[in-house]
Amino acid sequence: MDDGVSGLFAAPPLAEQERMVEAILFAAGKPQTVKEIGDRLPHGSEPEAALAALEKRYAGRGVALRRIGDAWAFRTAADLGFLMSREVEETRKLSRAAIETLAIVAYHQPITRAEIEEIRGVSVSRGTIDLLLELDWIKLGRRRMTPGRPVTFIVTRTFLDHFGLESAKDLPGVKELRAAGLLDNRPAPTAPEVAPEDPDARDQDELL
């Protein structure tokens, strides 16, 4: 927009901006970022202020304005889910491996596949990562600046939306886990040669 021209027009009053944001978010199925909302409002509008006013207006209603990462969306109030039970499509039951992997990515992101395997103590099957990518719950983050430049995984806005989280900081128990040091990246003490990587482990085992 040309500032020289649009500057001639004043932004609409906040109450009107609030109505506009309400209409935009009602019509959108997916969460909209503050920037996306701002781009659709008249020049000079303040989407953050309008969103704050709107959030307050909908507090306690049957529909709530929810922040999802850097985006916002209207969602039905969680306590009314029982009314909607007829519309629930039976979601595929996630495997234990998938749930665990998802939790590990969410609490440790960005995380490499090797690190996921280190935490789980078992190799992560291709199918598990694929499924989580397909659900759009995890996505590729930046490559780790370590030898081999491995890819990392992070959780998505869809993940936050699905689990009703404002941000990864709101993950259940995340503060306690961090305080307990359980989210630290604690490398294994360098073990002597004898152990896991020894291809003759099986033979040794039989000696025991």
């Binding site: 009602f26 209207f74 629930v88 665990e100 939790a103 609490y107 009703g164 128990g173 307990a180 896991p196």
Partner: protein, 265 residues
């Protein structure tokens, strides 16, 4: 969780007599998972777990599996080897010449791994227990697509405008040479016209009277018509059709048909 049942079965087996031991490695997600399951039999907080006792439990489990000739995946055996090594480190007095981490350090790391895995399991269960989109929370059922309006903005600068005008104005400068005919009344036209009129000019009359229609008012056109008509008059006088007179310099030119050319003659 279906796994909980398998898990209970293991616990039962492990707590029972050696004969009643149920060994089903298929139910575990790897050696760490098996260790975590075994650790529960100690019925203490993972932070106070006895890694030594846990290592012994694990090795006993693997032994039982072997006696039953159960095929064990390599990583279970690798873990067994590592735990055997750890056990020896924990039991023997530390060797000052030994390099690498102490048995206690290794045991502490294993305990950390178990705590961390358990924390992640619990976190996963908590996540799944949240109010989830499409189950307890719903999005807009009739989302409205955002249409796209195309708006064409035309760009033109003052420079382009001036250049366009200059282009038009200079086009002629570069056009192939041909003389532009302005409003010109040719001598040929004047001769033609006057010849037709000669019969009707018996008396002296001023030249301007015989200018053609449409060439009398506009300055340029009038000048051209006067000049051509004058030239035509001279031409016709030369041919002997007209007489011309002028009473004084710059006085009006008068003309009449010569006798014999006149209609009445």
């Amino acid at each position: 969780m279906p796994d909980d049942h398998a898990f209970d079965a293991h616990l039962d087996g492990l707590n029972g007599s050696a004969e009643g031991l149920v060994v089903d490695v298929d139910g575990f997600e790897g050696p760490l998972d098996l260790l975590l399951t075994l650790s529960r039999s100690q019925k203490v907080d993972l932070r106070r777990i006895s890694v030594l006792a846990l290592a012994e439990q694990y090795l006993a489990f693997i032994d039982a599996a072997k006696r039953l000739r159960i095929e064990l995946a390599a990583d279970y055996l690798v873990m067994a080897a590592w735990l055997a090594f750890l056990k020896s480190r924990l039991l023997l007095p530390p060797d000052p010449t030994d390099e690498g981490p102490s048995g206690e350090e290794l045991a502490a790391h294993l305990a950390f791994q178990l705590q961390r895995l358990e924390a992640m399991r619990r976190a996963g269960a908590q996540l799944m227990g949240r109010d989830r989109l499409g189950r307890e929370v719903f999005e807009r059922g009739e989302p409205q697509a955002v249409g796209i309006r195309r708006k064409v903005v035309y760009e033109a600068s003052l420079l382009e405008l001036m250049q366009a005008y200059a282009r038009i104005k200079t086009r002629d400068d570069f056009a192939p040479l041909h003389l532009k005919r302005g409003p010109i009344y040719t001598v040929e036209q004047a001769v033609e016209r006057l010849r037709g009129l000669v019969g009707a000019m018996p008396d002296w009359a001023v030249l301007e009277r015989y200018l053609p229609e449409g060439w009398r008012l506009d300055g340029k056109k009038r000048r051209s018509a006067v000049a051509s008509t004058f030239a035509a008059t001279l031409e016709l006088a030369k041919r002997g059709a007209l007489e011309i007179r002028q009473e004084a310099p710059f006085a009006p030119l008068e003309m009449r048909a010569r006798a014999g050319e006149r209609d009445d003659g």
